[in-house]
């Protein structure tokens, strides 16, 4: 069972669009693949791929060196 195709940004409340990311259409495929009576939780938090931009695993020495530089 498939959902109707998205009909532009007016379909969602303006503040709820953001979970779909910056690129238009992201997440619409997901909505199409879900059961028709599914609802999507809006967490208001960055997605995993976005969090990856922030995360930089460091070795212990690197981490200590980085911390030591903060005055």
């Amino acid at each position: 069972m498939s959902r109707p195709k998205p009909r532009g940004p007016a379909r969602d409340p303006e503040e709820l669009v953001m979970d779909r990311g910056a690129a238009p259409g992201v997440g619409d495929d997901l909505l199409d693949s879900l059961p028709a009576d599914a609802v999507v939780a809006y967490r208001g938090e960055p997605r995993a791929s976005e969090r990856a931009m922030l995360q930089w695993p460091m070795a212990a020495e690197q981490r200590q060196a980085f911390g030591a530089g903060i005055e």
Partner: protein, 657 residues
């Protein structure tokens, strides 16, 4: 709305409805129609060849008047709601470059005076390498009304080296010395002497030089600077002596532009945990970015290089702290353009890292908690917030559920947190008398299902297990070492809850069968209504079936709301068949509707074929409901049996996602 407007629209509606009623009566009832024709003789001329045409036109005019009255009332209702009175979405506040730089610098100075350097240091390390410090995240979701309530519990763990600085460096604060309100304001830029005297300048061409010197002032003779080179003397303009014994922990990463609803934070013992203000959080993040910048581009040697570095740093800080959310592409373009003058001095990897961090912080902000250092090396923080759901009305079926007042039973929840912790638990409970029917993991963008092979492709060490197909009243997902995934994917979980059978569906099925049986017996055994012997008892019984059914099934509104569309449709069908059977019974049937078959032992009986047909329809409805119930029950019992006694050749429940 002006006074008197309500009376005007009521009078308008009543007048329109009154005229519509008069016209309708005149069109339908013979007497008024004749009066109308006699009053206006030319109507009955060749222009209106038939009286029937006049009646039709009259009815159409009455309908138009009713529609017009409805529109008037709708317009008035819309105006009375005052939908347009909300403040609307705020516009982004754009500061001038000089003011923006000054605000950032002011925040950095205030933070460096308020918090010990090891606290900011640890914050930066947790922010950039969360998986090293977040050893366990538990994500518990519960349905509350039309929304979800999430409780996120994070267990942090630090090394003694991380924490010892906090305990040693920290000096208990006093009310007189702590807080930005006691700190002198940053000096107004620019002072020509600010760049001299051994002070290293920070700040761009916008005139932040003198203030920036306060951040990194080198301890001179007689200066009672702290171990980090920060001044701690009471007369030192760099700041007061007392700094609290606290840690700064990045607690929530939140999307810019969104709102956090009903956020509450507390520590492992349940005590509330304070947040940093937006300004202080900005200062802390700016310190971390500044260090990243230094690591990326190195220390400037010449004064000209230093000025260039400062200009670029503040350009990046302005980008990060601007209000509103911009696309990653725009942020990257801005980054590349501003970094171009000093790009050659940076290693590509470090440059890539700085750009990623800036792009992230442009679109998200960090909620920072202030907590006391733990006695040991681990500590727990919780936060809870309400999260709305969307997509309830994007499909016909979804809209139907909303109109019937049925609550959602299929939830799609973004899986954002497993990649930032060593282990991650997700739990969800929908409500009483429900069980988890489906719990799957999908790619957020394509909706493709994730299986163990896909997990293995993400990382050899990643582990994912979902407890489903066990007829449990809660969903549970466990993920481990997702922090080792090379490229974190945007995942979502789909959790489908269903009522534990038989539940409302079972009751509806039995009531539909009872109703069908009664109607069929009525058609076969109760004497046909011949116009003067209507049995009031029979009528009352027929009409009572529907409310009795609704009462039985809907004894718990919550239970009915969580039931399926099938249950709801079954209830409606049961009520409808009862009503139609009663109407057919009241109306004396024509001769062709009465059959007189001869039944053994009973002899000739009279059968109302109309009522009998309705009984058959009711029987079909009941049969469908029973088949559906049987499938649900069979599935549920199978799940229970699999849990108790796994059969060979079948996958063990929970073995795969």
């Amino acid at each position: 709305m002006r006074r008197g407007e309500t009376f005007r629209w009521i009078a308008t509606c009543l007048a329109q409805l009154g005229v519509a009623a008069v016209v309708a009566v005149a069109s339908i009832v013979d007497g008024p129609a004749d009066l109308l024709l006699r009053a206006v003789p030319w109507l009955d001329t060749a222009l209106w060849p038939a009286e029937g045409a006049i009646r039709v036109v009259g009815l159409l005019a009455a309908a138009e008047l009713v529609v017009s009255a409805r529109r008037t009332a709708q317009r008035h209702w819309w105006r009375r709601q005052r939908f347009d009175r909300a403040p609307g979405r705020p516009a982004s506040v754009t500061l001038a470059q000089r003011d923006a730089d000054r605000e950032i610098l002011r925040s950095m100075i205030r933070v460096s005076r308020t918090y010990p350097a090891p606290a900011i240091r640890l914050f930066g390390q947790i922010l950039l390498d969360p998986a090293r410090y977040q050893v366990r995240i538990t994500d518990e979701v519960q349905q509350v009304d039309e929304c979800l309530r999430v409780l996120v519990s994070t267990t942090f763990s630090g090394t003694p080296e991380d924490l010892v600085g906090l305990r040693e460096d920290a000096v208990p604060a006093t009310p007189a010395t702590r807080g930005p309100e006691n700190a002198p304001a940053p000096a107004d830029p620019p002072s020509s002497s600010g760049a001299n005297g051994g002070s290293r300048r920070l700040g761009g061409p916008s005139g932040t030089a003198a203030s920036s010197a306060l951040l990194t002032r080198t301890a001179g003779p007689g200066d009672t600077g702290g171990p980090t080179g920060r001044s701690t003397g009471p007369d030192d303009p760099a700041g007061p002596a007392g700094q609290p014994r606290v840690m700064l922990v990045p607690m929530i990463l939140s999307t810019k532009g969104g709102m956090l609803d009903n956020v509450e934070t507390f520590d492992g013992s349940g005590d509330p945990v304070p947040f940093l203000s937006q300004e202080d959080a900005r200062g802390v993040v700016a310190h971390v970015l500044r260090q990243l910048f230094r690591e990326t581009f190195g220390e400037a040697v010449h004064a000209a290089d230093e000025r260039r570095h400062d200009a670029v740093l503040f350009a990046l800080l302005r980008l990060v702290f601007q209000a509103g959310r911009v696309s990653v592409a725009d942020a990257d373009a801005y980054f590349d353009r501003n970094v171009a003058p000093i790009r050659a001095s940076a290693a590509q990897t470090r440059l890539h890292r700085l750009r990623g961090v800036c792009s992230f912080l442009v679109r998200n902000y960090v909620v920072i908690a202030e907590v006391p250092p733990p006695d040991g090396c681990a500590w727990i923080l919780h936060y809870t917030k309400t999260i709305p759901v969307y997509g309830r009305a994007t499909s016909h079926r979804g809209r139907r559920r909303v109109r019937l007042g049925l609550a959602p039973n299929t939830f799609v929840i973004p899986l954002n947190l497993p990649f930032t912790a060593t282990s991650y638990h997700f739990r969800m409970r929908a409500g009483a008398n429900t069980y988890v029917k489906v719990h799957s993991v999908q790619l957020a963008q394509s909706g493709a299902s994730i299986d163990q092979a896909a997990i293995r492709a993400m990382s050899e060490r990643a582990y994912l297990r979902v407890r489903h197909r066990q007829a449990l009243p809660y969903a549970h997902l466990y993920a481990r070492r997702f922090d080792t995934c090379r490229a974190p994917a945007d995942l979502v979980m789909e959790v489908v809850f269903d009522e534990v059978p038989p539940g409302a569906l079972g009751l509806t099925s039995w009531l539909a069968a009872l109703s069908a049986l009664v109607i069929t017996l009525l058609a076969l055994l109760v004497p046909v209504n011949d116009g003067d012997r209507i049995s009031g008892d029979v009528l009352a019984f027929l009409l009572a079936i529907s409310p009795v059914a609704a009462t039985f099934v809907g004894y718990s509104v919550e239970k009915l709301q969580r039931s399926s569309l099938t249950t709801f449709a079954g209830l409606v069908a049961t009520g409808a068949t009862s009503l139609v059977a009663a109407l057919l019974y009241v109306q004396p049937p024509p001769a062709w509707m009465v059959a007189r078959p001869v039944v053994p032992l009973l002899g000739e009986i009279r059968v109302n074929l109309g009522v009998f047909a309705v009984g058959l329809v009711g029987g079909l409805v009941a049969a469908y409901l029973f088949f559906r119930l049987r499938d649900e029950l069979h599935h549920y019992v199978e799940l229970l049996r699999d849990v108790e006694q796994p059969r060979p050749g079948r996958s063990r429940p929970g073995a795969t996602a």
